[in-house]
């Protein structure tokens, strides 16, 4: 694509990592900053609660990306139900749309944030579609 800057990689991200509360901010790495540096786009999951139609809309978007050469990963929080990703609701919605479940990386709170940030950065840089899939779509 002429002059197009897209990175072709996307992370599903819990609301709590998009908008860390004041109390947990120092307990977590700056996930948005790490995603930006890694060239990932973000699909934000809603906060805890019932969000059936919104999760279906997000699953539709993931299916469209997954079927057209984009690498979709999920970054959650260890200790949160479903990683904060509504995984028990989202996983069947994705399967129903013929999407292989994205690889999941769980960030740990209250440990050394620099180390956690490096672990996340390594996961993000190490993940992409196979080269032949990239060549097929990313022109």
């Amino acid at each position: 694509m002429n002059g197009d800057a897209r990175g072709w990689r996307i992370a599903l991200l819990p609301d709590t990592l998009v908008n860390p509360r004041e109390a947990s901010r120092s307990a977590l790495p700056d996930v948005l900053g790490i995603l930006e540096a890694a060239g990932y786009g973000v699909l934000q999951l809603p906060p805890p609660g019932e969000h059936g139609p919104l999760l279906a809309a997000i699953a539709d978007q993931v299916a469209e990306y997954a079927h057209h050469g984009y690498a979709v990963a999920a970054v959650g929080v260890r200790g949160e139900p479903g990683g904060g990703l509504h995984w028990r609701r989202l996983a069947p919605l994705l399967r129903h749309r013929g999407v292989a479940l994205p690889p999941r990386h769980l960030v740990r709170a209250l440990v050394d944030t620099a180390t956690e940030g490096e672990r996340l950065a390594a996961f993000l840089s190490g993940y992409d579609l196979p080269v032949e899939e990239q060549r097929r779509w990313r022109v």
Binding site: M1, N2, G3, D4, A5, R6, G7, W8, R9, I10, V18, N19, L32, L35, E36, A38, G39, Y40, G41, V42, L43, Q44, P46, P47, H51, P53, L54, A56, A57, I58, D60, Q61, E64, Y65, H68, Y70
Partner: protein
């Protein structure tokens, strides 16, 4: 029980967190549009990403299109479904007294706030010359339908502006100035207490 402090929440166009949503050749960043994210976070706004209606409707490999091509009953119904999916969250923010703003994408046929793209005679073989469309001052289809859904719920209008990414020639510095001015005007309005009351 003590209520949470009043929060600032910015509803933001999907592609401001994810440039992969853009139409082919429309992405100016790899992923996040960092000047927007930084401006909002530095002022204490939480981010609430809106769904991208074009991606789910016309696909990741859709053609470029103008307002008039998306102005169909089927696309408006699709936008209404998405609006109904995200509106409960927005209603929750507004009813608990949060300061809610909307940052769209100016020039977009769907997510434009101050401007959208227009060319009533577009259609057929997609071989139009460069820049063969006009920028007109009006909402995009998605923003029209989202605002209509919030109104149906009896909510006050949300102060809004657009990041001018789809205006033909992208001027990042100018866009940044516009956004800063808008955010400063919101702070002044908050300070003077002239915000509309929630019904």
């Amino acid at each position: 029980m003590k209520q949470d402090a009043r929060r600032r929440v910015a509803l933001i166009a999907n592609c401001l967190l994810n440039q992969n949503a853009k139409v082919c050749e429309g992405a100016h960043y790899r992923g996040l549009v960092s000047p927007v994210v930084q401006a909002l976070r530095s002022r204490g706004y939480e981010l609430q990403q809106l769904p991208c209606p074009e991606l789910a409707f016309a696909g990741a490999r859709r053609w470029w299109a103008v307002y008039e091509q998306y102005d169909t009953p089927a696309y408006r119904a699709h936008c209404r479904r998405l609006a109904q999916a995200i509106a409960p969250l927005i209603e929750q923010y507004i009813r608990r007294g949060d300061e809610v703003i909307l940052i769209g994408l100016d020039g977009s046929p769907s997510t434009g706030v101050r401007f959208t793209s227009s060319k009533p005679d577009w259609g057929g073989r997609p071989n139009r010359p460069d820049d063969d469309w006009e920028i007109v001052p009006r909402r995009g289809i998605w923003i029209e339908e989202l605002e209509a859904e919030l109104k149906r719920r009896g909510l006050p209008s949300v102060p809004a502006t657009g990041w001018a990414l789809d205006m033909g020639r992208f001027d990042e510095a100018g866009s940044r100035r516009d956004l800063e001015e808008f955010l400063e005007s919101r702070e002044a309005a908050q300070g003077s207490g002239d915000d509309p009351a929630v019904p």
